[in-house]
Amino acid sequence: MSRLLTQIYLFEEIFAALQEAFPDAEFVVEDKPVDDTFLKLAPEKVRPVAELLIEKFDIYHLSTITGDDAGDGVRLLYHFWSSYGLTLDTLLPYDNLRIPTLTDLIPGAAFYEREIQEMLGVTFEGLATPGPMFLPDDWDGSFPLRRQRLQKSQ
C-alpha cells in the first residue's frame, strides 16, 4: 500500500514538471495493468521528455521499446522502470515513420531501435545500423510485423 502511495505522489511530481517544461503540449495519462502508467504524447516530444526524466528524476532504466502496427500508424511505446512502470506512448503516421534516436542519451536503446527499424520500417534518425540484426542476410526487404508486408522501397 505504501508503495502505491509513493507511486501516485511521484507521478504527480513528474506530471507537474512536464506541464511546467512543455506548457503547450498535450499529455494524456492512463493507468494500465500490471503496475504501469501510460503517457500519451506527440512524437517530437519523446526525446525532450526522456531527457527530463533522466536529468530531473533519475529514471534511466529503459526496459524496452515496443513497436506496434496499430492500423492508423505505427505506435511506439517506450517502457521505463523506476520502482513502477512509466510508458511513453506515441503514434507515428504511415507517411512519416521517422523519430530521433535516444541512443546518445541511453546507449542501451540501440538494440531495441534496430529491431523496430528492421521489423516495422521506422527510421530512427541518428541510429548507427551496421547491418541486419535478426532477419537473415538474404531477406526480401519486407517488414514482418506490419499488417500488410510493405516493400522497403515504399
Binding site: 532477419l135 537473415p136 542476410d137 538474404d138 531477406w139 514482418p144
Partner: protein, 155 residues
C-alpha cells in the same frame, strides 16, 4: 610372367583393416552437435548425456568440437534461413561415412514454429536424415535409445 592385376578377390589385409575401422565406428561413434535454431531444451538434454547420471562416454560416445572428427551429426532445432547454409557447410566438412540424427520435434518437423517467416522446417528439408528422435525436449534415455538403434544399423 603374368602381370599382377587388381583382382576381385579381396586382399585379406585390407578386409581386416576395414573390419577394424567398422568395429571402431560402431563401438565408439564421435558426435558433433549443431543447433540450427532451437530453444536449447534439446541441447541441454544432450549435454546431460555427458554428465555422471547418463555418462555416454562409457558407451564410447564422445562429443567432438570439429566437424572433421565426427561420425554423427546431431541436429537440434528447426532450420532457420540464416543457419541453413552453415548447416550444409558443416555436413560437407564431415568425412564420409556420416550419419545425421534429427533430435527433437522441431528438428523433425519444425515443431511449434511451423509457418514462421524465418523457418524452413525440419532438418530433412536440408539434409538426409538417418534417425528421428522425438520429444519436446527429447529425454536423455530417448537420445541414447536412438543412437544405439542407429549404431545397430551400421554393420
Amino acid at each position: 610372367m603374368k602381370p599382377r592385376m587388381l583382382s576381385s578377390t579381396p586382399n585379406p589385409l585390407a578386409t581386416l583393416t576395414h573390419r577394424i575401422v567398422q568395429w571402431a565406428r560402431r563401438k565408439s561413434p564421435w558426435i558433433l552437435h549443431f543447433n540450427s535454431g532451437g530453444c536449447n531444451g534439446c541441447d541441454i538434454e544432450l549435454l546431460d548425456l555427458l554428465t555422471p547420471r547418463y555418462d555416454v562416454e562409457r558407451l564410447g560416445i564422445l562429443k567432438e568440437a570439429s566437424p572433421r572428427h565426427a561420425d554423427i551429426l546431431l541436429c537440434t532445432g528447426p532450420v532457420t534461413r540464416q543457419s541453413r547454409d552453415r548447416l550444409l557447410r558443416i555436413y560437407e566438412q564431415m568425412p564420409a561415412p556420416k550419419w545425421v540424427v534429427s533430435m527433437g520435434s522441431c528438428s523433425c518437423s519444425g515443431g511449434v514454429f511451423q509457418g514462421g517467416h524465418n523457418i524452413l522446417g525440419g532438418v530433412d528439408q536440408v539434409l538426409p536424415v538417418d534417425m528421428y528422435i522425438f520429444g519436446c525436449p527429447c529425454r536423455p534415455e530417448a537420445i541414447i535409445d536412438g543412437l544405439v538403434r542407429l549404431l545397430e544399423q551400421i554393420k
